[in-house]
């Protein structure tokens, strides 16, 4: 319908289509775009413009959220190249990864059962550093070696790690009150 909606999210913010990005530039571009279309700017405008502003602002926020998160950015880059990451359907993962997952789960359960918030916090920060390492690998697979199959596996792995992090967060919140 409009040029903005047919552009991909990278084009929208004037970024090159790759995994590695300057997060400050992304944030600045988002702020500038969000400022231009925010519904507050159109509060006294005709209804048509109000509706349009709501759609555009939603779109700009969606684009930002997608590019900001490494997992979502990776998934999005793959989808632009026609690769479905099959996160819901493809559950076959390397054995060592699955073993590591089980160990994580046990550690989280143990810390939760002994109401040890500090242990959970420590697990969370360890997990986050694992995530960062995997994100760097994903960037390499997408930007340098262009190994899309490997990248899809990494996206699925990242999804697992993200779920673990959420579990830790939920456990901490439950313990805090």
């Amino acid at each position: 319908m409009t040029t903005e909606f047919s552009q991909d999210f990278f084009q929208l913010f004037g970024l090159s289509r790759r995994f590695a990005l300057d997060s400050q530039q992304l944030e600045q571009s988002w702020r500038a775009a969000a400022a231009a279309v925010h519904p507050d700017r159109y509060a006294s405008s005709p209804d048509a413009e109000k509706r349009m502003a709501l759609m555009q602002a939603t779109h700009v926020n969606e684009a930002y959220q997608t590019l900001k998160s490494p997992l979502r950015r990776g998934r999005y880059l793959l989808s632009l190249q026609g690769v479905d990451t099959q996160e819901e359907t493809n559950t076959s993962m390397p054995l060592d990864f699955l073993m590591a997952q089980m160990e994580w789960r046990e550690s989280i359960e143990e810390a939760r059962d002994s109401s040890d918030v500090d242990a959970l916090e420590a697990l969370s920060s360890r997990l986050r550093s694992d995530k960062r390492a995997l994100e760097a690998e994903l960037g390499n697979a997408l930007d340098s070696t262009a190994d899309l199959d490997a990248a899809a596996v990494m996206v699925r792995k990242l999804r697992f790690l993200e779920k673990l992090d959420q579990e830790i967060g939920d456990a901490i919140e439950t313990l805090l009150g």
Binding site: L12, S29, A36, H38, A43, V60, N61, E173, G177
Partner: protein, 619 residues
Amino acid sequence: MALLQIAEPGLSAAPHQHRLAVGIDLGTTNSLVATVRSGATTVLADEFGRSLLPSVVRYQDGGQVTVGYDAQREQNHDPHNTITSVKRFMGRGLSDIKDAGSLPYRFVDAPGMVQLHTVAGVKSPVEVSADILRTLAQRAAATLGGELTGAVITVPAYFDDAQRQATKDAARLAGLTVLRLLNEPTAAAIAYGLDNGAEGTYVVYDLGGGTFDISILKLTRGVFEVLSTSGDSALGGDDFDHRVYCWILEQADLHGLSAQDTRLLLTRAREAKEALTEHSDTRITAILSDGNAVDLTLDQDTFRQITKTLVDKTLLPVRKALRDADISAGDVKGVVMVGGATRMPHIQKAVADFFGQPPLTNLDPDKVVALGAAIQANVLAGNKGEDEWLLLDVIPLSLGIETMGGLTEKIIPRNSTIPVARAQEFTTFKDGQTAMSIHVLQGERELVADCRSLAQFVLRGIPPMVAGAARIRITFQVDADGLLAVSAREMTSGVEASIEVKPSYGLSDDAISQMLSDSLAHVQDDIEARKLREAIVDADSLRDATLAALRIDGDLLTAEETSAIQLVLQQLEQAIASQTTLQVNQATHRLNKATEDFAARRMDRNIQRALKGQKISEL
């Protein structure tokens, strides 16, 4: 139009007169109205010079309604009909109100929202709140000498969709045009940030009469970005009063009090709490209806002890908000204190200890929210301020739907920047299934039973197919007020089934109109005259906006398109001249339709200009 004036400095829109817009802090204990006048933001006082309006409404036999100090004075001897802290009941069912038993009201367990039985009939919290808002609107109209264009109403950041919807309904019922629902801590941040030129990460700790909010904001060059928000929509100064009240009962060994005595002791408890802000101890005296006297002394230490769990309770949401924002207490540049309850010395100390710095208390915690709302209202009404600033707020609680086994699937996570939309696809479970039930929920918990049910609707007209073949796409859209709209449609077939739902607590437009015409303050003729006036105001502003748009971005249209719009503009003029509500509304609608495409093109140009400006500034 403000934006276009920036884009093309030589071609400013037609100067319009200053529009009267107000910010309203609809508080649990007190409410305020503020506005921007000749560049200065001020709270508007009543004829006795009082800024605060106690959020107390008294209903009398014969339909007389008293609001504010006069109602507050009567609350001890007319507790059933004098409603205080009604905000706690907004968008809430009877089962949500934990201390209903110790409150002096006759609750009616109505579906959706609890109601209150008074001598003037059953009142919903929406109606009671509307009476407070109406009083403030009248004060503003009288002080400012004109009709209000609109109002920004503040709500606790942690209010869920039902509570927000109820607040918006109350404003509509009071005859106000709601420019925006604004989160209270965000309003405070605007007032504080603009006043102090603050930059960096700030925390707003907002403990009001009945609600607690914590918001973490990043302030950068005029952008107020909320990073995360958390809170407890049933924790506030009232709970401190209640602890003191329970302490009185225990110390004086009182049981089975009448509604009058309960209200009297709650009032004494509040006075004691306030006295302890300045003094190390305070005396509590009261004569009960049976002639017995209460005479006790409460000191700071005891007060601190009996309310310690409440203070600790506020620190949990603080931790959650920090986690969600992914920052630590040490990253925070300043903590802004909002809400009368933050005057309590032990609250200030707890916050200082937690953040390792004394909180910022250099603004009036009672007024800062209303002031921020007024600043926002001024901008939204189209009165451009000197500074350009922008607010990016978030949704406080996750939104999701019920899936198999009574579990919730989150669709929009909490702390997403609004406006936000997310679509999710679902499929049928049985062969030939033609309908699907959708249950919309808000909250963080896994079980449906632990989340708040917002709406339940059935999507019909799905073409019969084998199980799993239909693709039903459900879209959640949260607008800039934080309000949700859900739509659903079937994707595979040519047949399209779609539905728009409103949260179950929301009142329909018809219900609002009905309540409006039922209200004694409006005679039928007034309503008609008012409708015409409103229609013409809308038509005028649409015409002005369209003319300005044509002047500035007319090059985006072909000659044919321009003349088509001009034709509809002429029709609008004729409709206005006819002084017929229906004709004016129809013409306005046609002009809105005719300019839709134009609006889209202008919006694109705006984004491109914004991003271009961005790149130039980087060089």
